[in-house]
């Protein structure tokens, strides 16, 4: 089978490309591998002694891992923000960037799934979630839904990325009738992954801090802020270290879309804070714990206000055209958005939800070194996957990695695909 031969050739060359590179590339990869090793050792400790090595207790039963998971689901949804204008509005410069958004989604999802794996008490039983072999409690369990949508979203992105790169590798244009529907499908998918993740918290009536219908829209707003933030930075790194060309207009367009999302995010937070403080019910305790502290427990307060300050700073820098179109201030805006959303959506969502506990107890959670190391290791895996994918993708898109010479009979097997307009991912190369 020609396809099998070609595809294995594609896989082997890609793998080879991922492990060869400049000293700088290698230094980066080794650095990540060291982090992975640190994480693995910490995880081994957690496996040996149980989740008791974390700061989690019955009062605060989710913490650093699940907070990071929630944030990364948002990053994974980022692919969408670049996909929407590219495919719906045919806005050209952004189009070649779509593939990088999808690579980011794939790596972010790897990180998400690993963060859930390190959080569960019996990771060896994960197969209990697989339908038929195990039992997936749909439709009633939101976590079951989350498992479905995250994996589906992961699969869709992976297929699109693999297809585009493989076809490019073979020197053929991608199949429009496959890619366009899948990419269009990935838009509602991205929104639904994040909505379902929000519902995971939103549906819990026992935790008034989460049980607010503003949660899902606010999740989307913060995802559409933080995801593109990371993308803008990555794209600049990409054009610095490779021959890949990315136009400033594309970055500015993403920055503009980000500005709306950052504004919306702040607005929704403001609306929630107003409702809590003005109505001043007993539910206010959780919000007060976050912004003011409760009974002298003030560990989270500095984080709360730095998140607010960073998000406001980002809004100002991104909304003013002059600062948005200046790469220095644009980057400051992106970093501020990223950190602001990370704080507010990770720890800022999970911990106040649990504090005070349902029986009124205040247990002040602070992640242990094991938790931090394990999470760092997981992020390093994500970064490793992202770097390797990026390296291969760039080489293929630049034509440095090709199937040559073209094996005999290829042409005969391949149905003619329609010619593309001059704005495909490889158009300007």
């Amino acid at each position: 089978m020609t396809f099998v031969r070609q595809f294995s050739h594609f896989a082997v060359s890609s793998a080879r490309a991922a492990v060869t590179g400049s000293p700088a590339y290698w230094a980066w990869m080794v650095f990540l591998l060291v982090l992975v090793a640190i994480g693995a050792f910490a995880y081994a400790e957690q496996l040996r002694h149980g989740l008791g090595v974390t700061a989690l207790r019955d009062q605060v039963s989710w913490g650093f891992y699940i907070g990071n998971f929630t944030f990364m689901v948002g990053v994974a949804a980022a692919a969408v923000i670049v996909v929407i204008p590219a495919y719906i509005y045919h806005w050209k410069p952004i189009r070649e960037i779509v593939i990088f958004g999808e690579l980011l989604a794939v790596s972010a999802l790897v990180t998400c799934l690993l963060l859930v794996m390190v959080d569960i008490g019996r990771p060896e039983r994960f197969w209990h979630l697989i339908p038929l072999v195990g039992y997936l409690n749909v439709p009633s369990s939101l976590l079951a839904w989350d498992v479905i949508v995250l994996n589906l979203y992961f699969a869709v992105n992976l297929v699109v990325v693999l297809h585009i790169l493989y076809r490019e590798f073979c020197g053929r244009p991608y199949v429009r009738s496959l890619v366009v529907p899948l990419v269009l499908f990935s838009i509602p998918m991205a929104i639904s992954t994040h909505t379902v993740t929000a519902f995971l918290y939103n549906g819990v009536a026992a935790r008034p801090y989460w049980n607010s219908s503003i949660l899902a829209p606010q999740f989307l707003a913060s995802a559409f802020s933080s995801g593109p933030a990371i993308l803008i930075i990555v794209l600049q790194l990409l054009r610095r270290f490779t021959r890949f060309e990315i136009r400033n207009e594309a970055l500015w367009k993403i920055g503009e879309l980000m500005a709306y999302a950052v504004f919306l995010n702040l607005f929704l937070h403001g609306a929630e804070a107003f409702k809590e403080y003005y109505s001043n019910t007993e539910h206010l305790l959780h919000t007060r714990y976050w912004f003011q502290g409760l009974d002298g427990h003030r560990a989270l307060v500095p984080y709360a206000w730095s998140a607010v300050a960073l998000n406001f700073l980002a809004l100002v820098l991104l909304i003013i055209p002059k600062t948005r179109m200046n790469l220095v201030t644009l980057n400051i805006g992106c970093v501020a958005t990223y950190i602001g959303c990370y704080i507010e959506k990770g720890m800022g969502l999970i911990l106040p939800g649990f504090t005070p506990s349902t029986l009124g107890e205040i247990y002040e959670y602070a992640a242990t070194s094991v938790e931090v190391r394990v999470a760092l290791g997981v992020y390093a895996v994500g970064a490793l996957v992202f770097t390797a994918q990026l390296k291969v993708a760039v080489m293929i898109l630049l034509g440095e990695l090709r199937l040559e010479p073209r094996p005999e009979g290829t042409r005969a097997d391949v149905p003619a695909s329609p010619a593309l307009p001059a704005s495909g991912p490889n158009a300007h190369v």
């Binding site: 009062q59 859930v116 039983r125 209990h128 979630l129 072999v133 409690n137 007993e282 029986l359």
Partner: protein, 290 residues
């Protein structure tokens, strides 16, 4: 790709068939949710558990597989005006239900509240430690699993490892729980405990009379909770906390039996449930008997 050689198709078919067979074998013979195992299989599993625990704890452990009795729906009532906050129920429960001693796991949490404020979780104190109880100006509200008719915890479980039995007892399958702790976030009563570390019970302290959905030894990394002493109540006995209470504040019985004490209390006293607004519909009632 329309000239696919038939060989590959056959290979694909074989692969699919093998996968299907493996799937079938796993489903038929592999571990299953205790919720859905057929009775004969359950008996075998229970015998296996008995052998395992007996060897591990050096005691003659029995694991009952007694099912719900027809016409029985268990309910509980607690007289707040009688409770003196002595926590005897907490420790009787630990011994009866084989909770871990180190680290300590407790299914019952007694909250000390101020009489001036009434039932107010925000100002409740679970860590009161006077030399003598009750303290002036205070009253006590013990909280454990409320065995809700509309249980938020079973709804959120992604693997169906926790459910409500026909007699109204909410149970956990310790062999199926993956330890994701969704149920713990969902429970409005803090009634579920997680085994953060390896549970331990000193030698000889194990209550050898166990039930497969109740007090059998638990592994690390799974959730556990009050089962109304399923091993006792399905054998016609009272839960350990009811028996040990020195002031008779704890009442238990069959909600479907019109002559039961629990029905008398519900019909003649002013009963209430915790966090009514959440519509969890507990089968655990609180009342002021005097």
């Amino acid at each position: 790709m329309d000239e696919k050689p038939p060989k590959a198709t056959r290979r694909e078919f074989a692969t699919c068939a093998a996968a299907a067979a493996a799937g079938f074998l796993l489903t038929a013979c592999g571990p299953r949710r205790l919720h859905e195992v057929p009775p004969e299989r359950l008996q075998r599993l229970v015998r296996e558990m008995e052998r395992e625990y007996s060897a591990k704890y050096g005691q003659d452990v029995t694991v009952s597989d007694a099912g719900p009795m027809p016409g029985v729906l268990f309910g509980y009532a607690l007289d707040i005006s009688r409770c003196i906050g002595c926590r005897r129920c907490v420790y009787a429960c630990v011994e009866e239900n084989n909770q871990s001693r180190d680290p300590q796991v407790q299914w019952i949490r007694v909250l000390q509240m101020e009489k001036e404020r009434g039932i107010d979780f925000e100002h409740a104190n679970p860590y009161y430690e006077p030399s003598e109880v009750p303290e002036d100006g205070h009253f006590y509200v013990p909280v454990q699993c409320q065995h809700c008719r509309n249980a938020p915890c079973t709804k959120v479980c992604p693997t169906g490892a926790t459910w409500t039995e026909k007699d109204g007892i909410v149970v956990v399958d310790y062999d199926w729980c993956i330890g994701c702790r969704c149920c713990m976030s969902a429970c409005p009563y803090g009634a579920r405990q997680f085994n953060w570390r390896q549970p331990s019970i000193p030698e000889g302290d194990l209550n050898a009379s166990t039930h497969y959905l109740g007090n059998r030894p638990r592994p690390r990394g799974v959730v556990e909770k009050c089962t109304f002493c399923i091993q006792r109540v399905r054998a016609g006995r009272y839960p350990a906390c009811v028996e040990v209470c020195p002031v008779g504040a704890r009442k238990f019985g069959n909600l479907l039996d019109p002559d039961s004490e629990i029905r008398y209390i519900i019909e003649h006293k002013r009963v209430m449930t915790l966090k009514r607004e959440l519509n969890t519909m507990p089968k655990f009632f609180y009342f002021y008997g005097t």
